[in-house]
Symmetry: C2
Subunit: 259 residues, 2 copies
DNA sequence: TCGCTGATCTGGTCTATACCAGATCGCGTT
DNA sequence: AACGCGATCTGGTATAGACCAGATCAGCGA
């Protein structure tokens, strides 16, 4: 779809004037949201299609740019569209499905859904355990930790920023070995440690600024933070923390049917 | 805490001027966010304490009201504060913990955390299955459904709006009987049906306008929508859909330690 | 053809102002 | 003490304008 998209074309700028009847006292930005949602739903604009710019929409619907921006923000937080920093707004593809409780790792789950995926490895850092990390690893503050970072791209969009924290004292030789994916399998085979899922936490909040940077979204973007803790023999071996763009995913527990 | 809170008092309005050094080119609203976050963290303002108004903050920090509002919006989406419609902003209590996979029902989980809770029953409606409902219930469109609605209040704040959809053809006599809580137990004892959790879906999105209304928050507020499907003998008996204010809860899978 | 460059487009941020409606609080009456 | 009413405070919405920096793209030069 070009910038001259069908969305909003041939529209009477006055149509968004509040009517005493139908829309009652609904805010203008919600009326505009509904109009856009309807056009996305019925229109020829499929997933990935570009929406008109904020300024375009504002002009066509006869509202201020900030009002159009707010309407777009609602659609974004509903997951119907997503924005790419300074490039525009696009119609969202269907949410991918991810079962955080499953033993099948993320990349494999994605491939089983027939999605085009890429795993961008961002490198390794060695560090001492922070307060947060020490509490989660049940290790002393300052314990030697390896941090592996990566970004997962699905259908051309980066949607997950992942951090793996590994206890080096329980994984002798890890610091000298190269990165191998998938990580759990690598550890199981080469380090005599069999990490088992202990517990996970799902939190809806803005993603960290580092994550936002790597995902190419504005700081303060809404997301899901999922923390996985894996143990072996009563000891926490690794903690995985990943930041998801919240509109990209449905979390599934149990055997959900397709769709 | 009164409206004349310590937050932001005795502050030099010029302090938010962008510095070439420390803050680099961080947006003003993020600088203000950090300042407020720091004061909340270190200050005497405990959970439930009221923050200064948007206009107050704007004046004290020397920024426009919309900028102060944006900073507050970030803190809200991070879960550090929450807003009550037209009443002000308040420091958030710690997130409650909810294990959606547990067989223990929500109210009991809350009580086990020592929280003050209330379950507001909103009444019953009888209806025909919509497209969405028919798909989830694996029932024909228009099938007879009972809808039970309720709101859960924790520590004085309404944080969950819940809808239970029940297949009346599988629960003879339900339509004539009064509402009994907890629902699953009621059904198990009185209708010869033993609902078992089949699958659940967790989605981060804005909550529905109906939910927003019942929770007393602005339309378009960010939330979590959790859908539970329960079956008996291969048939879907009930579907529960609840809307959580996303800053109020941590979802837990497995045995997470305290804190 | 390739690579650079500058114009242009886009969202991101920020200001200043205005009005509305719900929530609250104080004051006066009963 | 209880009630009612209005002033005031609050966030919610909306406008119009402005500037910035990253992304993009057309066109030019090597």
């Amino acid at each position: 779809m070009s910038v001259n998209s069908p969305l909003g074309a041939h529209r009477d700028p006055a149509m968004l004037t509040r009517q005493a009847g139908e829309d009652g006292d609904a805010p203008v930005y919600l009326v505009l949201r509904d109009a856009l949602a309807e056009e996305i739903r019925t229109g020829a604009a499929g997933p990935g299609a570009r929406l008109p710019s904020e300024r375009d929409l504002a002009a066509r619907f006869g509202v201020a740019r900030m009002t159009a921006r707010k309407a777009l923000g609602v659609l974004e937080s509903e997951g119907m569209i997503f924005r790419a920093d300074r490039r525009g707004y696009f119609v969202s593809p269907p949410r991918i499905r991810y079962a955080p409780g499953s033993s099948v790792n993320l990349m494999r789950q994605l491939r089983e859904q027939g999605l085009m995926t890429a795993n961008h490895y961002l490198g390794r850092q060695q560090m001492g355990a922070s307060d947060w990390l020490a509490a989660h690893l049940r290790a002393p503050v300052g314990a030697a930790i390896a941090l592996e970072r990566s970004v997962v791209e699905v259908e051309g969009r980066k949607i997950v920023y992942s951090e793996d924290f590994l206890r080096l004292d329980l994984l002798p030789g890890y610091a000298e070995a190269p990165y191998v994916s998938p990580m759990t399998q690598n550890i199981r085979r080469n380090y005599g440690v069999d990490p088992q899922p202990a517990w996970s936490r799902i939190r809806a909040a803005t993603i960290s600024s580092v994550a936002a940077q790597h995902l190419g979204v504005a700081a303060g973007t809404a997301g899901l933070t999922i923390t996985h803790v894996q143990t072996h023999g009563g000891q926490v071996v690794m903690v995985n923390r990943c930041f998801w763009l919240s509109d990209a995913v449905d979390l599934v527990l149990g055997d959900a049917p397709e769709g």
